[in-house]
Symmetry: C2
Subunit: 314 residues, 2 copies
């Protein structure tokens, strides 16, 4: 692939209703969650992460996951995901398997982050994933496996690309449909992103979807998106309103905003199937629900307007 050829279409996976709502200090009312997810599901977004089967005492913000799933009504072509931290969470989730399409499991690439996040070693987390993936697929569901701190760890520093490759091979061998790579505390840079994704694409089968999850902690989120596009990546995770981010370490914030991502893609002529104005309306609505201004650039500046029409890409 030359550096002129970016993917012509991109899939955006919305994580705000899980990653965003989880990081709010106050629990959002179930009815508000359902209304906001249903609003997102009418924007053209086709993949939405909507619930987590983490223990309710650990994550009270998402303790109504089952109710959200049971009451939610979305178009048939919108695929819903749930996050599970371990086998026990998976078993609880699978009791409601008719209400979603995909299970998301995760481990960190770095030992210290994994231990602080889930109090287990990486080996233990990967072993659990290797047990869970076949059960997810046996239930007729898709499985996304996420590697957190894939671009750097706030405790350990450098995460070698070889480490990320090795974990990816294990997740692929376990039967994951998709591997996501999280820049969990915003340490990735574009050269690293491009190099890592090129290696990952070369090392994995065509059937494995590779997905980038960037944070905008230092303002570099969309530059990393560009670099990943240049490496042929065409699935990106983001959060409406710029909600969410990783609570470990404290103070680290900042998923890239869905509206900022979609704006960048559309301006470059890359199709998403998403109605940008409708996403912005959902972000304004969650802003009203939360009662505070959110961080996305488009909420502040509005979309780019091109009198006479947007120019051809490039």
């Amino acid at each position: 692939m030359t550096d002129h050829e970016l993917p012509s279409a991109v899939v955006v996976r919305e994580v705000g209703p899980r990653d965003g709502f989880q990081n709010e200090p106050e629990r959002i009312a179930t009815a508000d969650k359902i209304r906001l997810i249903e609003q997102l599901a009418r924007t053209g977004l086709r993949r939405i992460e909507v619930a987590s089967f983490v223990r309710p005492d650990v994550l009270p913000q998402l303790d109504d996951g089952v109710e959200v799933l049971e009451r939610l009504e979305v178009p048939a072509d919108v695929h819903l995901s749930v996050l599970v931290p371990n086998v026990r969470g998976l078993e609880r989730a699978l009791e409601h398997a008719d209400r979603f399409h995909e299970v998301c499991v995760f481990a960190s690439a770095s030992e210290t982050h994994n231990r602080r996040n889930v109090n287990r070693s990486v080996a233990e987390s990967i072993a659990a994933i290797e047990e869970m993936v076949p059960r997810v697929r046996a239930a007729g569901l898709r499985c996304q496996a996420v590697i957190a701190t894939a671009f750097g760890c706030p405790y350990e520093g450098v995460v070698p690309a070889e480490r990320v490759l090795e974990l990816t091979r294990r997740l692929e061998a376990a039967g994951a449909d998709e591997v996501g790579y999280g820049d969990t505390t915003g340490m990735a840079n574009p050269l690293q992103v491009r190099a890592l994704f090129r290696r990952l694409r070369a090392a994995t089968g065509e059937g494995l979807e590779l997905t980038a999850h960037f944070h905008n902690t230092r303002g570099q989120g969309l530059a990393n998106v560009l670099a990943a596009l240049e490496a042929g990546i065409s699935t990106f995770e983001s959060s409406f309103g710029e909600l969410g981010g990783c609570p470990v370490p404290k103070g680290a914030t900042g998923n890239i905003a869905t509206e900022d991502l979609v704006s960048l893609l559309h301006e470059m002529g890359i199709e998403t199937g998403i109605d940008l104005a409708a996403v912005l309306e959902a972000s304004r609505e969650v802003q009203r629900v939360l009662g505070r201004p959110l961080g996305s650039h488009l909420l502040l500046a509005g979309p780019i307007e091109w009198p006479g029409g947007r120019p051809a890409a490039g």
Copy 2:
């Protein structure tokens, strides 16, 4: 140039003391301006735009430009620039030519923006620049000519690349040492940036410095920096603390922040000669002077820390 080869070093031209201070609702005290500029001049920044010779009644925020220039003490290797809007401004500036190194002149690529900004046609602005450049150079000074709305106009929409090329050729023929390209209201996208700068580099002489000035209005500023780097551009303008931006149209804000730019460059292994921590300290200081939080990402999140050291680029 393949897409792997980015410039190994970049020049950052700091515009905050002019572009930023100009856009503050309250006039900053002269002593504060001088102190802040002197602080910036000790960070490793080698080019700083410090004053404007616009009419004081039009721009009272910068009406103390002469006093700033006369009192300022910066290291000998720090080059200071002043902005002039017209021949009369240039004549006033040249009375103090021993206090700075460079004059910055400007026109918009789009007719409507130019008229709203300076109440003249583009042809009139370019004719004035053609008169001014030789006088700047005859005074032993360097001349930067800026093309505003080079990537799109909020009133007219598309600005054809041919138009920007044509204006560039005229500025080069007039003797400008450098042409700057302003994404004045944040409409540029990376594909457009890369394509335009590749054409500009091919169409101009080696001796002409080409400089990118991006806004972060839709969060895309650093993605555009990456695209410009890929096109071989190695001079970028930015503003400490993310101060400033264009007041036409109202509400449009957002120069890229110097600290966010420098962080991105350093993470990619690109040298700037700038001490990031020192720039951040200057941004904290201007935050104290203004009495409000500023918008740069690094002010909020702090610099990336790599326990054990930053990894090699790529």
